[in-house]
Symmetry: C2
Subunit: 289 residues, 2 copies
DNA sequence: GTTCCGCATGAATCGATAG
DNA sequence: ACTATCGATTCATGCGGAA
Protein backbone atom coordinates (compact mmCIF):
# COMPACT_ATOMS: atom_id res chain seq x y z
CA UNK A 1 0.00 0.00 0.00
CA UNK A 2 1.27 3.42 -0.90
CA UNK A 3 0.51 6.49 1.10
CA UNK A 4 0.91 10.01 -0.14
CA UNK A 5 1.01 12.87 2.31
CA UNK A 6 0.82 16.50 1.28
CA UNK A 7 1.01 19.51 3.51
CA UNK A 8 0.31 22.90 2.11
CA UNK A 9 0.25 26.31 3.68
CA UNK A 10 -3.06 27.50 2.39
CA UNK A 11 -2.94 31.13 3.39
CA UNK A 12 -0.31 33.82 3.59
CA UNK A 13 1.20 33.06 6.98
CA UNK A 14 0.82 35.94 9.33
CA UNK A 15 1.88 33.99 12.38
CA UNK A 16 4.07 30.98 12.70
CA UNK A 17 1.39 28.98 14.40
CA UNK A 18 -1.23 29.13 11.69
CA UNK A 19 -2.22 25.52 11.17
CA UNK A 20 -1.39 23.88 7.89
CA UNK A 21 -3.99 21.68 6.33
CA UNK A 22 -2.84 18.22 5.33
CA UNK A 23 -4.09 15.79 2.74
CA UNK A 24 -3.30 12.10 3.10
CA UNK A 25 -4.08 9.57 0.41
CA UNK A 26 -4.23 5.82 0.98
CA UNK A 27 -3.73 3.88 -2.23
CA UNK A 28 -5.54 0.78 -1.07
CA UNK A 29 -8.78 -1.09 -0.94
CA UNK A 30 -11.36 0.92 0.94
CA UNK A 31 -12.04 -1.59 3.73
CA UNK A 32 -8.34 -2.27 4.29
CA UNK A 33 -7.43 1.39 4.51
CA UNK A 34 -10.29 2.20 6.85
CA UNK A 35 -8.84 -0.25 9.39
CA UNK A 36 -5.93 2.18 9.83
CA UNK A 37 -8.18 4.94 11.07
CA UNK A 38 -8.96 5.22 14.77
CA UNK A 39 -12.47 5.33 16.19
CA UNK A 40 -14.25 8.69 16.39
CA UNK A 41 -11.61 10.61 14.47
CA UNK A 42 -13.39 12.05 11.43
CA UNK A 43 -15.58 15.16 11.33
CA UNK A 44 -17.09 14.70 7.89
CA UNK A 45 -17.28 11.81 5.47
CA UNK A 46 -18.31 12.75 1.97
CA UNK A 47 -18.09 10.36 -0.90
CA UNK A 48 -19.54 9.21 -4.14
CA UNK A 49 -19.02 5.45 -4.26
CA UNK A 50 -18.95 3.61 -7.56
CA UNK A 51 -22.51 3.22 -8.77
CA UNK A 52 -23.89 -0.17 -9.63
CA UNK A 53 -22.49 -1.59 -12.86
CA UNK A 54 -19.98 1.27 -13.11
CA UNK A 55 -16.19 1.21 -12.97
CA UNK A 56 -16.21 -2.52 -13.57
CA UNK A 57 -12.46 -2.71 -14.00
CA UNK A 58 -11.73 -1.24 -10.59
CA UNK A 59 -14.45 -2.43 -8.32
CA UNK A 60 -15.60 -5.49 -10.20
CA UNK A 61 -18.78 -3.82 -11.40
CA UNK A 62 -21.09 -4.28 -8.44
CA UNK A 63 -24.41 -5.77 -9.51
CA UNK A 64 -27.46 -3.82 -8.41
CA UNK A 65 -28.79 -6.82 -6.51
CA UNK A 66 -25.52 -7.09 -4.58
CA UNK A 67 -25.06 -3.41 -3.86
CA UNK A 68 -26.31 -3.32 -0.27
CA UNK A 69 -24.31 -6.42 0.59
CA UNK A 70 -21.20 -4.79 -0.87
CA UNK A 71 -21.59 -1.43 0.83
CA UNK A 72 -22.76 -2.53 4.28
CA UNK A 73 -19.36 -3.50 5.74
CA UNK A 74 -17.94 -0.20 4.51
CA UNK A 75 -20.81 1.70 6.11
CA UNK A 76 -20.05 -0.09 9.39
CA UNK A 77 -16.42 1.04 9.30
CA UNK A 78 -17.46 4.59 8.47
CA UNK A 79 -19.76 4.56 11.48
CA UNK A 80 -16.80 3.55 13.62
CA UNK A 81 -14.38 6.25 12.46
CA UNK A 82 -16.84 9.16 12.48
CA UNK A 83 -17.01 11.40 15.53
CA UNK A 84 -20.29 11.52 17.42
CA UNK A 85 -20.93 15.05 16.20
CA UNK A 86 -19.77 14.31 12.65
CA UNK A 87 -21.75 13.82 9.46
CA UNK A 88 -21.71 11.36 6.56
CA UNK A 89 -22.87 12.62 3.16
CA UNK A 90 -23.45 9.89 0.59
CA UNK A 91 -23.87 10.83 -3.08
CA UNK A 92 -25.73 8.09 -4.89
CA UNK A 93 -28.40 7.39 -7.47
CA UNK A 94 -30.15 4.20 -8.43
CA UNK A 95 -29.98 3.12 -12.04
CA UNK A 96 -32.78 1.95 -14.26
CA UNK A 97 -33.00 -1.83 -14.49
CA UNK A 98 -35.56 -3.39 -16.80
CA UNK A 99 -37.58 -0.20 -17.08
CA UNK A 100 -37.77 0.42 -13.34
CA UNK A 101 -35.72 2.37 -10.84
CA UNK A 102 -33.89 -0.24 -8.81
CA UNK A 103 -34.53 -0.26 -5.06
CA UNK A 104 -31.00 -0.76 -3.76
CA UNK A 105 -30.72 2.78 -2.48
CA UNK A 106 -33.95 2.44 -0.52
CA UNK A 107 -32.72 -0.84 0.92
CA UNK A 108 -29.34 0.67 1.76
CA UNK A 109 -30.93 3.44 3.79
CA UNK A 110 -32.92 0.90 5.76
CA UNK A 111 -29.88 -1.33 6.26
CA UNK A 112 -27.77 1.56 7.47
CA UNK A 113 -30.42 2.57 9.97
CA UNK A 114 -30.35 -0.97 11.32
CA UNK A 115 -26.64 -0.69 12.00
CA UNK A 116 -27.09 2.56 13.91
CA UNK A 117 -26.94 5.37 11.38
CA UNK A 118 -29.53 8.12 11.64
CA UNK A 119 -30.99 9.16 8.26
CA UNK A 120 -31.15 12.85 9.01
CA UNK A 121 -31.88 14.36 5.61
CA UNK A 122 -31.90 13.85 1.88
CA UNK A 123 -30.53 16.70 -0.19
CA UNK A 124 -31.14 16.83 -3.93
CA UNK A 125 -28.27 17.60 -6.27
CA UNK A 126 -29.96 19.14 -9.29
CA UNK A 127 -27.76 18.96 -12.40
CA UNK A 128 -28.74 21.28 -15.18
CA UNK A 129 -26.26 19.76 -17.61
CA UNK A 130 -27.20 16.15 -17.16
CA UNK A 131 -26.44 13.44 -19.66
CA UNK A 132 -28.21 13.97 -22.98
CA UNK A 133 -30.40 11.44 -24.68
CA UNK A 134 -33.99 10.69 -25.54
CA UNK A 135 -36.16 7.68 -24.86
CA UNK A 136 -39.80 6.99 -25.51
CA UNK A 137 -40.73 6.47 -21.88
CA UNK A 138 -38.30 8.51 -19.82
CA UNK A 139 -36.76 11.95 -19.54
CA UNK A 140 -33.14 12.70 -18.83
CA UNK A 141 -32.06 12.08 -15.26
CA UNK A 142 -31.08 15.46 -13.84
CA UNK A 143 -30.75 14.79 -10.13
CA UNK A 144 -28.90 12.65 -7.64
CA UNK A 145 -29.36 11.92 -3.98
CA UNK A 146 -27.13 13.41 -1.28
CA UNK A 147 -28.05 11.36 1.76
CA UNK A 148 -27.11 12.84 5.11
CA UNK A 149 -26.44 10.34 7.90
CA UNK A 150 -25.40 11.02 11.48
CA UNK A 151 -24.40 9.08 14.57
CA UNK A 152 -26.31 11.31 16.96
CA UNK A 153 -28.85 14.09 16.78
CA UNK A 154 -26.31 16.59 18.04
CA UNK A 155 -24.10 17.03 15.02
CA UNK A 156 -22.16 20.15 14.06
CA UNK A 157 -23.74 22.39 11.45
CA UNK A 158 -22.42 25.82 10.51
CA UNK A 159 -25.29 27.21 8.50
CA UNK A 160 -23.92 30.74 8.25
CA UNK A 161 -20.99 29.50 6.17
CA UNK A 162 -23.13 28.58 3.19
CA UNK A 163 -25.53 31.49 3.04
CA UNK A 164 -26.25 32.76 -0.43
CA UNK A 165 -27.20 36.18 -1.75
CA UNK A 166 -30.88 36.80 -2.17
CA UNK A 167 -32.55 37.57 -5.44
CA UNK A 168 -32.75 36.32 -8.99
CA UNK A 169 -29.40 37.77 -9.93
CA UNK A 170 -27.75 35.42 -7.49
CA UNK A 171 -29.56 32.42 -8.84
CA UNK A 172 -27.63 32.48 -12.04
CA UNK A 173 -24.30 33.89 -10.97
CA UNK A 174 -23.40 33.00 -7.46
CA UNK A 175 -25.61 30.09 -6.72
CA UNK A 176 -23.78 28.17 -4.07
CA UNK A 177 -20.54 30.05 -3.55
CA UNK A 178 -18.82 27.31 -5.47
CA UNK A 179 -15.11 26.98 -5.00
CA UNK A 180 -14.44 27.46 -8.68
CA UNK A 181 -16.19 30.79 -8.61
CA UNK A 182 -14.31 31.84 -5.57
CA UNK A 183 -10.98 30.77 -6.99
CA UNK A 184 -11.55 32.38 -10.33
CA UNK A 185 -12.35 35.65 -8.70
CA UNK A 186 -9.37 35.35 -6.40
CA UNK A 187 -6.94 34.57 -9.17
CA UNK A 188 -8.10 37.55 -11.15
CA UNK A 189 -7.51 39.95 -8.36
CA UNK A 190 -4.50 38.46 -6.69
CA UNK A 191 -5.05 39.48 -3.14
CA UNK A 192 -7.37 37.58 -0.89
CA UNK A 193 -9.65 40.55 -0.87
CA UNK A 194 -10.79 42.64 -3.76
CA UNK A 195 -13.46 41.18 -5.93
CA UNK A 196 -14.13 38.25 -3.67
CA UNK A 197 -17.53 36.79 -3.27
CA UNK A 198 -17.23 37.37 0.42
CA UNK A 199 -17.72 41.04 -0.39
CA UNK A 200 -21.35 40.23 -0.77
CA UNK A 201 -21.58 38.74 2.66
CA UNK A 202 -23.75 40.87 4.83
CA UNK A 203 -25.94 42.09 2.05
CA UNK A 204 -29.19 40.19 2.18
CA UNK A 205 -27.79 36.76 2.69
CA UNK A 206 -30.26 33.95 3.09
CA UNK A 207 -29.93 30.33 4.05
CA UNK A 208 -30.06 27.83 1.22
CA UNK A 209 -32.47 24.94 1.00
CA UNK A 210 -31.98 21.21 0.70
CA UNK A 211 -31.82 21.50 -3.09
CA UNK A 212 -28.27 22.06 -4.33
CA UNK A 213 -27.91 23.29 -7.92
CA UNK A 214 -24.49 22.76 -9.47
CA UNK A 215 -23.42 21.83 -12.99
CA UNK A 216 -21.27 18.75 -13.47
CA UNK A 217 -17.70 19.12 -14.63
CA UNK A 218 -17.57 17.29 -17.89
CA UNK A 219 -14.89 18.90 -19.96
CA UNK A 220 -11.89 18.13 -17.78
CA UNK A 221 -10.28 15.53 -19.94
CA UNK A 222 -7.68 14.33 -17.46
CA UNK A 223 -10.24 12.66 -15.26
CA UNK A 224 -13.80 11.52 -15.53
CA UNK A 225 -15.05 12.92 -12.26
CA UNK A 226 -18.53 14.27 -12.32
CA UNK A 227 -18.28 15.41 -8.74
CA UNK A 228 -17.84 19.17 -9.14
CA UNK A 229 -15.51 20.60 -6.52
CA UNK A 230 -18.25 22.94 -5.38
CA UNK A 231 -20.26 20.02 -4.06
CA UNK A 232 -17.85 18.74 -1.39
CA UNK A 233 -16.88 22.37 -0.72
CA UNK A 234 -20.47 23.20 0.14
CA UNK A 235 -20.80 20.35 2.63
CA UNK A 236 -17.32 20.93 4.08
CA UNK A 237 -18.26 24.51 4.87
CA UNK A 238 -21.60 23.40 6.24
CA UNK A 239 -20.46 20.55 8.48
CA UNK A 240 -16.84 21.31 9.48
CA UNK A 241 -14.68 24.15 10.71
CA UNK A 242 -11.07 25.05 9.96
CA UNK A 243 -8.67 22.34 11.08
CA UNK A 244 -11.27 19.55 11.05
CA UNK A 245 -10.72 16.30 9.19
CA UNK A 246 -12.64 15.19 6.10
CA UNK A 247 -12.66 11.63 4.78
CA UNK A 248 -13.49 10.39 1.28
CA UNK A 249 -13.27 6.59 1.12
CA UNK A 250 -13.71 6.64 -2.69
CA UNK A 251 -11.49 9.53 -3.58
CA UNK A 252 -11.40 9.07 -7.34
CA UNK A 253 -9.51 11.97 -8.84
CA UNK A 254 -9.11 13.78 -5.53
CA UNK A 255 -11.90 16.34 -5.64
CA UNK A 256 -12.66 16.07 -1.92
CA UNK A 257 -9.00 16.64 -0.96
CA UNK A 258 -8.75 19.66 -3.25
CA UNK A 259 -11.86 21.18 -1.70
CA UNK A 260 -10.63 20.42 1.81
CA UNK A 261 -7.19 21.98 1.35
CA UNK A 262 -8.64 25.10 -0.15
CA UNK A 263 -10.82 25.44 2.91
CA UNK A 264 -8.04 24.70 5.42
CA UNK A 265 -9.43 21.33 6.42
CA UNK A 266 -7.33 18.21 6.76
CA UNK A 267 -8.40 15.37 4.55
CA UNK A 268 -7.94 11.65 4.14
CA UNK A 269 -8.65 10.04 0.81
CA UNK A 270 -8.81 6.35 -0.04
CA UNK A 271 -8.53 5.16 -3.61
CA UNK A 272 -7.70 1.70 -4.84
CA UNK A 273 -6.50 2.62 -8.32
CA UNK A 274 -2.91 3.86 -8.58
CA UNK A 275 -3.51 6.08 -11.56
CA UNK A 276 -6.35 7.86 -9.76
CA UNK A 277 -4.07 8.39 -6.74
CA UNK A 278 -1.45 9.96 -8.94
CA UNK A 279 -4.04 12.10 -10.62
CA UNK A 280 -5.30 13.21 -7.22
CA UNK A 281 -1.79 14.17 -6.22
CA UNK A 282 -1.34 16.23 -9.37
CA UNK A 283 -4.64 17.99 -8.91
CA UNK A 284 -3.83 18.79 -5.30
CA UNK A 285 -0.58 20.39 -6.40
CA UNK A 286 -2.19 22.29 -9.21
CA UNK A 287 -5.59 23.31 -7.93
CA UNK A 288 -4.87 24.30 -4.37
CA UNK A 289 -3.63 27.68 -3.40
CA UNK B 1 -72.63 10.15 -0.28
CA UNK B 2 -73.01 13.21 -2.43
CA UNK B 3 -71.87 13.34 -5.99
CA UNK B 4 -71.30 16.51 -7.92
CA UNK B 5 -71.09 16.40 -11.66
CA UNK B 6 -70.00 19.33 -13.73
CA UNK B 7 -69.84 19.52 -17.49
CA UNK B 8 -68.23 22.49 -19.10
CA UNK B 9 -67.66 23.37 -22.72
CA UNK B 10 -64.02 24.31 -22.45
CA UNK B 11 -63.42 25.80 -25.84
CA UNK B 12 -65.47 27.85 -28.30
CA UNK B 13 -67.55 25.16 -29.96
CA UNK B 14 -67.00 25.01 -33.68
CA UNK B 15 -68.91 21.80 -34.17
CA UNK B 16 -71.72 20.34 -32.18
CA UNK B 17 -69.86 17.13 -31.59
CA UNK B 18 -66.82 18.53 -29.87
CA UNK B 19 -66.53 16.50 -26.68
CA UNK B 20 -67.15 18.26 -23.43
CA UNK B 21 -64.86 17.50 -20.57
CA UNK B 22 -66.58 16.44 -17.40
CA UNK B 23 -65.57 16.64 -13.76
CA UNK B 24 -67.18 14.34 -11.25
CA UNK B 25 -66.63 14.65 -7.53
CA UNK B 26 -67.39 11.92 -5.03
CA UNK B 27 -67.88 13.31 -1.55
CA UNK B 28 -66.99 10.13 0.23
CA UNK B 29 -64.30 8.09 1.85
CA UNK B 30 -61.60 7.24 -0.66
CA UNK B 31 -61.86 3.46 -0.48
CA UNK B 32 -65.67 3.53 -0.65
CA UNK B 33 -65.74 5.79 -3.64
CA UNK B 34 -63.11 3.81 -5.52
CA UNK B 35 -65.39 0.76 -5.38
CA UNK B 36 -67.71 2.61 -7.77
CA UNK B 37 -65.11 2.80 -10.48
CA UNK B 38 -64.79 -0.03 -13.00
CA UNK B 39 -61.55 -1.89 -13.68
CA UNK B 40 -59.11 -0.42 -16.21
CA UNK B 41 -61.00 2.81 -16.68
CA UNK B 42 -58.55 5.56 -15.70
CA UNK B 43 -55.73 6.99 -17.84
CA UNK B 44 -53.91 8.93 -15.15
CA UNK B 45 -54.07 8.98 -11.38
CA UNK B 46 -52.40 11.96 -9.79
CA UNK B 47 -52.74 12.79 -6.14
CA UNK B 48 -51.17 14.25 -3.08
CA UNK B 49 -52.49 12.19 -0.21
CA UNK B 50 -52.62 13.57 3.31
CA UNK B 51 -49.15 13.33 4.71
CA UNK B 52 -48.57 11.54 7.92
CA UNK B 53 -49.88 13.50 10.88
CA UNK B 54 -51.44 16.06 8.54
CA UNK B 55 -55.15 16.76 8.28
CA UNK B 56 -55.56 14.93 11.53
CA UNK B 57 -59.19 15.85 11.90
CA UNK B 58 -60.10 14.44 8.52
CA UNK B 59 -58.19 11.24 8.32
CA UNK B 60 -57.61 10.57 11.96
CA UNK B 61 -54.03 11.73 11.73
CA UNK B 62 -52.28 8.77 10.20
CA UNK B 63 -49.24 7.96 12.27
CA UNK B 64 -46.01 7.61 10.27
CA UNK B 65 -45.59 4.03 11.45
CA UNK B 66 -49.06 3.17 10.15
CA UNK B 67 -48.77 5.00 6.85
CA UNK B 68 -47.96 2.03 4.63
CA UNK B 69 -50.67 -0.04 6.24
CA UNK B 70 -53.17 2.77 5.67
CA UNK B 71 -52.25 3.46 2.06
CA UNK B 72 -51.78 -0.09 0.80
CA UNK B 73 -55.46 -1.01 0.31
CA UNK B 74 -55.95 2.27 -1.54
CA UNK B 75 -52.95 1.53 -3.76
CA UNK B 76 -54.51 -1.85 -4.57
CA UNK B 77 -57.75 -0.23 -5.67
CA UNK B 78 -55.85 2.30 -7.76
CA UNK B 79 -54.04 -0.56 -9.47
CA UNK B 80 -57.39 -2.07 -10.32
CA UNK B 81 -58.98 1.02 -11.83
CA UNK B 82 -55.98 2.17 -13.87
CA UNK B 83 -55.73 1.17 -17.52
CA UNK B 84 -52.76 -0.98 -18.51
CA UNK B 85 -51.21 1.92 -20.40
CA UNK B 86 -52.02 4.45 -17.68
CA UNK B 87 -49.81 6.08 -15.09
CA UNK B 88 -50.01 6.82 -11.37
CA UNK B 89 -48.17 9.88 -10.08
CA UNK B 90 -47.89 10.05 -6.31
CA UNK B 91 -46.81 13.32 -4.72
CA UNK B 92 -45.38 12.54 -1.31
CA UNK B 93 -42.64 13.49 1.11
CA UNK B 94 -41.60 11.85 4.31
CA UNK B 95 -41.79 13.99 7.40
CA UNK B 96 -39.12 14.39 10.02
CA UNK B 97 -39.74 12.24 13.09
CA UNK B 98 -37.42 12.51 16.04
CA UNK B 99 -34.70 14.20 14.00
CA UNK B 100 -34.75 11.68 11.17
CA UNK B 101 -36.52 11.42 7.86
CA UNK B 102 -39.07 8.69 8.38
CA UNK B 103 -38.86 5.65 6.10
CA UNK B 104 -42.53 5.19 5.27
CA UNK B 105 -42.09 6.38 1.70
CA UNK B 106 -39.27 3.91 1.09
CA UNK B 107 -41.38 1.13 2.58
CA UNK B 108 -44.40 2.19 0.55
CA UNK B 109 -42.48 1.94 -2.71
CA UNK B 110 -41.35 -1.55 -1.82
CA UNK B 111 -44.83 -2.57 -0.73
CA UNK B 112 -46.41 -1.25 -3.93
CA UNK B 113 -43.90 -3.15 -6.04
CA UNK B 114 -44.92 -6.31 -4.19
CA UNK B 115 -48.55 -5.78 -5.17
CA UNK B 116 -47.63 -5.39 -8.84
CA UNK B 117 -46.86 -1.70 -9.39
CA UNK B 118 -43.76 -0.86 -11.42
CA UNK B 119 -41.70 1.98 -9.93
CA UNK B 120 -40.82 3.59 -13.23
CA UNK B 121 -39.33 6.89 -12.14
CA UNK B 122 -38.97 9.42 -9.37
CA UNK B 123 -39.39 13.03 -10.41
CA UNK B 124 -38.31 15.81 -8.12
CA UNK B 125 -40.61 18.74 -7.58
CA UNK B 126 -38.26 21.58 -6.78
CA UNK B 127 -40.19 24.32 -5.00
CA UNK B 128 -38.71 27.72 -5.60
CA UNK B 129 -40.53 29.53 -2.86
CA UNK B 130 -40.78 26.93 -0.19
CA UNK B 131 -42.00 27.45 3.31
CA UNK B 132 -39.82 29.91 5.24
CA UNK B 133 -38.22 29.06 8.52
CA UNK B 134 -34.96 28.20 10.20
CA UNK B 135 -33.88 25.28 12.30
CA UNK B 136 -30.51 24.69 13.94
CA UNK B 137 -29.84 21.38 12.22
CA UNK B 138 -31.84 21.46 9.03
CA UNK B 139 -32.45 23.68 6.02
CA UNK B 140 -35.80 24.47 4.51
CA UNK B 141 -37.34 21.55 2.66
CA UNK B 142 -37.56 22.70 -0.95
CA UNK B 143 -38.44 19.50 -2.76
CA UNK B 144 -40.97 16.71 -2.83
CA UNK B 145 -41.09 13.35 -4.49
CA UNK B 146 -43.29 12.69 -7.51
CA UNK B 147 -43.24 8.93 -7.77
CA UNK B 148 -44.26 7.50 -11.12
CA UNK B 149 -45.82 4.05 -11.02
CA UNK B 150 -47.13 1.98 -13.92
CA UNK B 151 -48.93 -1.29 -14.48
CA UNK B 152 -46.89 -2.22 -17.55
CA UNK B 153 -43.80 -0.99 -19.33
CA UNK B 154 -45.87 0.15 -22.28
CA UNK B 155 -47.55 3.25 -20.92
CA UNK B 156 -48.62 6.31 -22.84
CA UNK B 157 -46.26 9.26 -22.76
CA UNK B 158 -46.69 12.36 -24.90
CA UNK B 159 -43.32 14.03 -24.47
CA UNK B 160 -43.81 16.69 -27.12
CA UNK B 161 -46.59 18.26 -25.11
CA UNK B 162 -44.30 19.44 -22.34
CA UNK B 163 -41.27 20.69 -24.25
CA UNK B 164 -39.58 23.78 -22.86
CA UNK B 165 -37.52 26.59 -24.41
CA UNK B 166 -33.92 25.70 -25.14
CA UNK B 167 -31.18 27.14 -22.94
CA UNK B 168 -29.54 30.42 -23.80
CA UNK B 169 -26.37 28.68 -24.94
CA UNK B 170 -27.93 27.91 -28.30
CA UNK B 171 -28.59 31.54 -29.12
CA UNK B 172 -24.94 32.48 -29.07
CA UNK B 173 -23.67 29.19 -30.34
CA UNK B 174 -25.89 28.46 -33.27
CA UNK B 175 -26.38 31.94 -34.65
CA UNK B 176 -23.85 31.72 -37.41
CA UNK B 177 -22.88 28.28 -38.50
CA UNK B 178 -19.81 27.93 -40.65
CA UNK B 179 -19.89 25.83 -43.78
CA UNK B 180 -17.81 23.16 -42.11
CA UNK B 181 -20.37 22.89 -39.38
CA UNK B 182 -23.18 22.48 -41.81
CA UNK B 183 -21.36 19.72 -43.63
CA UNK B 184 -19.81 18.00 -40.66
CA UNK B 185 -20.71 14.37 -40.32
CA UNK B 186 -19.63 11.81 -37.81
CA UNK B 187 -16.40 10.94 -39.53
CA UNK B 188 -14.54 13.32 -37.28
CA UNK B 189 -16.23 12.74 -34.01
CA UNK B 190 -16.80 9.57 -32.03
CA UNK B 191 -19.30 10.97 -29.62
CA UNK B 192 -21.01 14.18 -28.76
CA UNK B 193 -23.06 15.67 -31.50
CA UNK B 194 -21.91 13.10 -33.99
CA UNK B 195 -24.46 14.25 -36.43
CA UNK B 196 -24.74 17.53 -38.18
CA UNK B 197 -24.84 20.54 -35.91
CA UNK B 198 -27.19 22.30 -38.24
CA UNK B 199 -29.86 20.01 -36.90
CA UNK B 200 -30.05 22.45 -34.02
CA UNK B 201 -30.72 25.50 -36.13
CA UNK B 202 -34.24 26.76 -35.67
CA UNK B 203 -34.76 24.42 -32.80
CA UNK B 204 -36.01 26.33 -29.81
CA UNK B 205 -37.75 23.71 -27.76
CA UNK B 206 -36.14 20.83 -25.91
CA UNK B 207 -37.41 18.03 -23.72
CA UNK B 208 -37.44 18.63 -19.98
CA UNK B 209 -35.73 16.49 -17.34
CA UNK B 210 -37.06 14.64 -14.32
CA UNK B 211 -36.65 17.75 -12.19
CA UNK B 212 -39.84 19.81 -12.24
CA UNK B 213 -39.43 23.40 -11.09
CA UNK B 214 -42.64 25.05 -10.05
CA UNK B 215 -43.38 27.61 -7.35
CA UNK B 216 -45.91 26.76 -4.69
CA UNK B 217 -49.15 28.66 -4.75
CA UNK B 218 -49.08 31.25 -2.07
CA UNK B 219 -51.87 32.85 -0.10
CA UNK B 220 -54.50 30.25 -0.52
CA UNK B 221 -56.38 30.93 2.60
CA UNK B 222 -59.15 28.42 2.52
CA UNK B 223 -57.24 25.19 2.03
CA UNK B 224 -53.93 23.91 3.20
CA UNK B 225 -52.90 22.08 0.06
CA UNK B 226 -49.92 23.59 -1.68
CA UNK B 227 -50.42 21.64 -4.90
CA UNK B 228 -50.01 24.29 -7.61
CA UNK B 229 -52.29 23.79 -10.60
CA UNK B 230 -49.26 23.67 -12.88
CA UNK B 231 -48.13 20.42 -11.35
CA UNK B 232 -51.09 18.21 -12.28
CA UNK B 233 -51.31 20.13 -15.54
CA UNK B 234 -47.76 19.10 -16.45
CA UNK B 235 -48.41 15.43 -15.83
CA UNK B 236 -51.83 15.54 -17.46
CA UNK B 237 -50.25 16.88 -20.63
CA UNK B 238 -47.44 14.34 -20.38
CA UNK B 239 -49.47 11.21 -19.71
CA UNK B 240 -52.93 11.79 -21.24
CA UNK B 241 -54.58 13.09 -24.37
CA UNK B 242 -57.76 15.07 -24.89
CA UNK B 243 -60.81 13.16 -23.75
CA UNK B 244 -58.92 10.88 -21.37
CA UNK B 245 -59.90 10.47 -17.75
CA UNK B 246 -57.88 11.66 -14.76
CA UNK B 247 -58.47 10.51 -11.19
CA UNK B 248 -57.49 12.22 -7.95
CA UNK B 249 -58.49 10.10 -4.94
CA UNK B 250 -57.55 12.90 -2.52
CA UNK B 251 -58.94 15.87 -4.36
CA UNK B 252 -58.64 18.45 -1.59
CA UNK B 253 -59.65 21.79 -3.03
CA UNK B 254 -60.06 20.49 -6.55
CA UNK B 255 -56.79 21.43 -8.21
CA UNK B 256 -56.62 18.27 -10.32
CA UNK B 257 -60.15 18.77 -11.65
CA UNK B 258 -59.42 22.40 -12.53
CA UNK B 259 -56.29 21.40 -14.42
CA UNK B 260 -58.12 18.56 -16.18
CA UNK B 261 -61.05 20.67 -17.36
CA UNK B 262 -58.76 23.37 -18.65
CA UNK B 263 -56.98 20.71 -20.70
CA UNK B 264 -60.16 19.06 -21.98
CA UNK B 265 -59.68 15.92 -19.93
CA UNK B 266 -62.44 14.27 -17.94
CA UNK B 267 -61.74 13.97 -14.26
CA UNK B 268 -62.94 12.16 -11.19
CA UNK B 269 -62.16 13.53 -7.78
CA UNK B 270 -62.71 11.92 -4.40
CA UNK B 271 -62.79 13.95 -1.23
CA UNK B 272 -64.23 13.00 2.13
CA UNK B 273 -64.74 16.49 3.53
CA UNK B 274 -67.87 18.31 2.44
CA UNK B 275 -66.36 21.76 2.72
CA UNK B 276 -63.49 20.76 0.45
CA UNK B 277 -65.97 19.38 -2.09
CA UNK B 278 -67.83 22.66 -2.09
CA UNK B 279 -64.61 24.58 -2.43
CA UNK B 280 -63.60 22.37 -5.33
CA UNK B 281 -66.92 23.06 -7.00
CA UNK B 282 -66.48 26.80 -6.61
CA UNK B 283 -62.96 26.69 -7.97
CA UNK B 284 -64.08 24.65 -10.95
CA UNK B 285 -66.71 27.25 -11.75
CA UNK B 286 -64.34 30.13 -11.27
CA UNK B 287 -61.01 28.92 -12.60
CA UNK B 288 -61.99 26.99 -15.69
CA UNK B 289 -62.65 28.57 -19.02
C1' DG C 1 -8.42 42.34 -21.25
C1' DT C 2 -12.79 40.96 -23.41
C1' DT C 3 -16.00 38.53 -26.13
C1' DC C 4 -16.88 35.11 -29.45
C1' DC C 5 -16.67 30.70 -31.49
C1' DG C 6 -15.19 25.68 -32.14
C1' DC C 7 -15.25 21.61 -29.91
C1' DA C 8 -15.07 17.70 -26.69
C1' DT C 9 -17.33 15.41 -23.17
C1' DG C 10 -20.34 13.35 -20.02
C1' DA C 11 -22.22 7.81 -12.95
C1' DA C 12 -27.48 7.48 -19.20
C1' DT C 13 -31.02 4.52 -21.41
C1' DC C 14 -33.28 1.83 -24.91
C1' DG C 15 -33.60 -1.47 -28.43
C1' DA C 16 -31.45 -4.46 -31.60
C1' DT C 17 -28.15 -7.89 -32.53
C1' DA C 18 -25.01 -11.50 -31.30
C1' DG C 19 -23.23 -15.57 -28.45
C1' DA D 1 -34.72 -17.46 -22.37
C1' DC D 2 -30.86 -14.92 -20.76
C1' DT D 3 -26.71 -12.07 -20.85
C1' DA D 4 -23.19 -9.13 -23.29
C1' DT D 5 -22.06 -5.67 -26.50
C1' DC D 6 -23.09 -1.73 -29.59
C1' DG D 7 -25.25 2.23 -31.92
C1' DA D 8 -28.42 6.16 -31.70
C1' DT D 9 -30.21 9.63 -29.19
C1' DT D 10 -29.37 14.52 -26.91
C1' DC D 11 -28.05 19.36 -24.43
C1' DA D 12 -25.32 22.28 -21.20
C1' DT D 13 -20.79 23.44 -19.96
C1' DG D 14 -15.76 24.71 -19.74
C1' DC D 15 -11.60 25.16 -22.15
C1' DG D 16 -8.68 27.20 -25.53
C1' DG D 17 -7.74 29.79 -29.46
C1' DA D 18 -9.15 33.66 -32.37
C1' DA D 19 -11.06 38.26 -33.36
Amino acid sequence: MNTIELTKPTRPLLFEDIPKATAKIYCDDCLNALKNLPDNSIDLIITSPPYADQRASTYGGIKPDKYVEWFSPIAKELLRVLKDDGTFVLNIKEKVVDGERHTYVLELIQEMRKMGWLWTEEFVWSKKNCFPGKWPNRFRDAWERLLQFNKTKNFNMYQDEVRIPIGDWSKSRLKNLSETDKKRDNSKVGSGFGKNISNWVGRDMVYPTNVVCLPTESSNKSHSAVFPVGLPAWFIKLFTKTGDTVLDPFLGSGTTCVASLNLDRNSIGIEILDEYCKLAQERINKETK
